[in-house]
Subunit: 385 residues, 2 copies
């Protein structure tokens, strides 16, 4: 196990009928930015629940709607300008990972005089941010319980991340019933993203991480089991609740604690794909991750064999198991109807070299097998077989 | 899954050679109370490491040594008086659960004009406390990452607990090497306590808690596996590290989140035993817990069967499995050489009725099977078979 520092001060309020308590955690009589996506919350009652609670504490709000699935720097900059003009004191992000991530960048950028992108470029650090409150409507990114944000700079096509002690949400409200009416595809995308988060810490090459491995395996078994149930019974509260909480636990720092940094190769390569093709984040993962696993599994046969045994209940020799585990994961992705190759989403083979050199990808890439752009090219080509 | 609120702001600093960083998390040039037990830290170098770090930040300290294994109210009151006299600004607790628990009570009591015992009697709440820094020397209670404290009132023989938002340690330092020289018995006691914490949430009767159950099972498998290694190789860093981190995770709120309150029957009955006989905490658990499990397992056959299957790898019908799991746990306790009955520690049978009515035990007791004093009597008698 590696030395580590773990600190996660996010307060989680979880369960049914919790949204009315939102404003009880906030300062009274202030003005907040109410951030959301393309507006489904206006139709499904969530907007009304949130604003009803705000009103009860004398809190006023300025709407900022239309945050895009891969949130853009220009939207973040616009929202920061509004925060300054309107003397905004807190941000309420109602949505999934994109809205939450935008919320973090806005909350931090509003407390800083310069340009917010400098934070993504690590030119500055942001110890301070406006308080951020989250109402989660799509479980996927885990952003509701960590301090990281990912934003795309449309001008440079770079999708970059930052994290800061100041950008942990102050309180995140997780009501599984809010996800009853999600399109099936969104639920699948969410589960794919959760699995990727778990796997990127699970396959990072740190030895002697039993308690972390059991935790990861438990999350993966929970996600796969309860996704199956939810796809057949979208309003099954218990399984929705399991998916929601597993998704949050997948990226709240516990998987990371004691391990080396996660091997985020798949996320990084995926970021390049979505920066250039505006693909859904989860589809970039379903394309890259099985191919990445196949490309690197020989670096850590015991861990890939453990994966096959513990997560899929497979048996066999260590070498066989390691390969079978990758196959089982790919089969799971296929069963969900997610794309598995660049070709599946219309990316031409001659675009691969340029993708492999996208500025979203820092080289050397990854920890299990440190890679260069040639390796990324190989993985993207491998996805087509 | 039940509705829940989860919030744990403790910063964990984990690993080798971390003690020199202690004072970097503290305010400079202040005076702190340095709390410890019977003084082994004076001989094994830990005291020197801690005070060296304090000196580097200009921090002065007042020693308070001799905190007892079941910390007493009179010691806590004395230490609070010193904090007031000496204008103490923070508490540094160097030790195991008893020292940490005493530290919490002192840190809270020092910020409150009345008598600290009123907090244990729930007559007052303590939102504030002095900042508490922990250097963990024995993994067992999990107190290093929660806000709860247990103290014994010698006058009334009541062993009571409290928790408060103010009494989370600010930073806890977990260096597994500090436990290399623990007496074997202390390591065993610690593992017994950890297992009890996990089991009391695992067997509390809440349905639909897959992700929590997998987490609990992973902790138990980690504890049993790495205890075995550490007993043969006390200086095996990796296994010490696994035990330390599993012990902390066992009672940091994650096991509780989404479950009903834990069923702390075994701890409560155990508190009565140690209040009257000053037994080691873990020995009270090894006596009570297997008997409690045997007394209640029919309340939740599926969960006891799952326990047998997932933790001990047993197979069979559900009913058989449930009983076999209890037996396997009892066998594990026996293998460790821990007492399994009142008789083993010299408690006479005619003392049992009085024990079953000790003020440490609140009735009705427990959630899986709510119990009265007759049930407690039955469990204590059952321990003798």
């Amino acid at each position: 196990m590696k030395n580590f520092i773990f600190h996660n001060p996010v307060r989680i309020v979880f369960g049914k009928e919790i949204i009315p308590t939102l404003s009880s955690y906030m300062a009274r009589n202030e003005k907040v930015l109410l951030l959301y996506g393309k507006g489904s919350i206006l139709n499904n009652g969530i907007y009304d629940q949130v604003t009803q609670s705000l009103k009860q504490a004398g809190i006023t709000w300025k709407d900022f709607a239309g945050i895009k699935p891969n949130p853009t720097l220009s939207q973040v900059r616009s929202a920061i300008a509004i925060c300054r003009q309107e003397n905004i004191k807190a941000v309420v992000a109602v949505g999934g990972g994109s809205v939450i991530d935008a919320g973090k960048a806005i909350a931090a950028g509003a407390c800083f005089d310069g340009d917010v992108w400098d934070g993504f470029l690590k030119k500055i650090s942001w110890p301070q941010a406006l308080p951020l409150y989250v109402v989660l409507t799509i479980s996927a990114t885990g952003s509701e319980m960590n301090s990281a944000a990912v934003v795309t700079n449309e001008e440079t096509q770079a999708k970059m991340s930052f994290y800061s002690p100041g950008t942990f949400p102050k309180v995140s409200f997780l009501d599984p019933t809010l996800q009853y009416t999600l399109p099936e595809k969104q639920t699948i995308y969410g589960a794919m993203d959760m699995m990727a988060h778990v796997l990127e810490f699970y396959f990072n090459g740190t030895p002697d991480t039993d308690v972390q491995d059991y935790f990861s395996e438990g999350l993966m078994k929970t996600i796969m089991k309860h996704l199956d149930i939810v796809l057949n019974h979208p309003k099954n509260y218990e399984s929705r609740a399991q998916l929601v909480w597993a998704g949050t636990l997948a990226l709240n720092g516990l998987n990371a604690a004691g391990r080396d940094k996660g091997d985020f190769s798949s996320h990084r390569i995926g970021h390049a794909l979505s920066a250039c093709y505006d693909l859904p984040h989860a589809e970039t993962l379903s394309i890259v991750m099985p191919a990445w696993m196949r490309y690197v599994y020989k670096q850590d046969i015991p861990q890939f064999a453990r994966f096959a045994r513990e997560v899929f209940g497979l048996q066999g020799s260590e070498n066989d198991l390691a390969s079978k585990g990758v196959q089982a994961f790919q089969d799971w992705v296929r069963k969900l109807g997610l794309p598995l190759s660049c070709v599946d989403v219309g990316i031409r083979m001659d675009a691969i070299p340029s993708l492999a050199n996208n500025p979203s990808i820092p080289f050397p890439l990854g920890t299990l097998k440190p890679m260069q752009s040639e390796d990324v090219e190989s993985i993207l080509r491998l996805s087509n077989y």
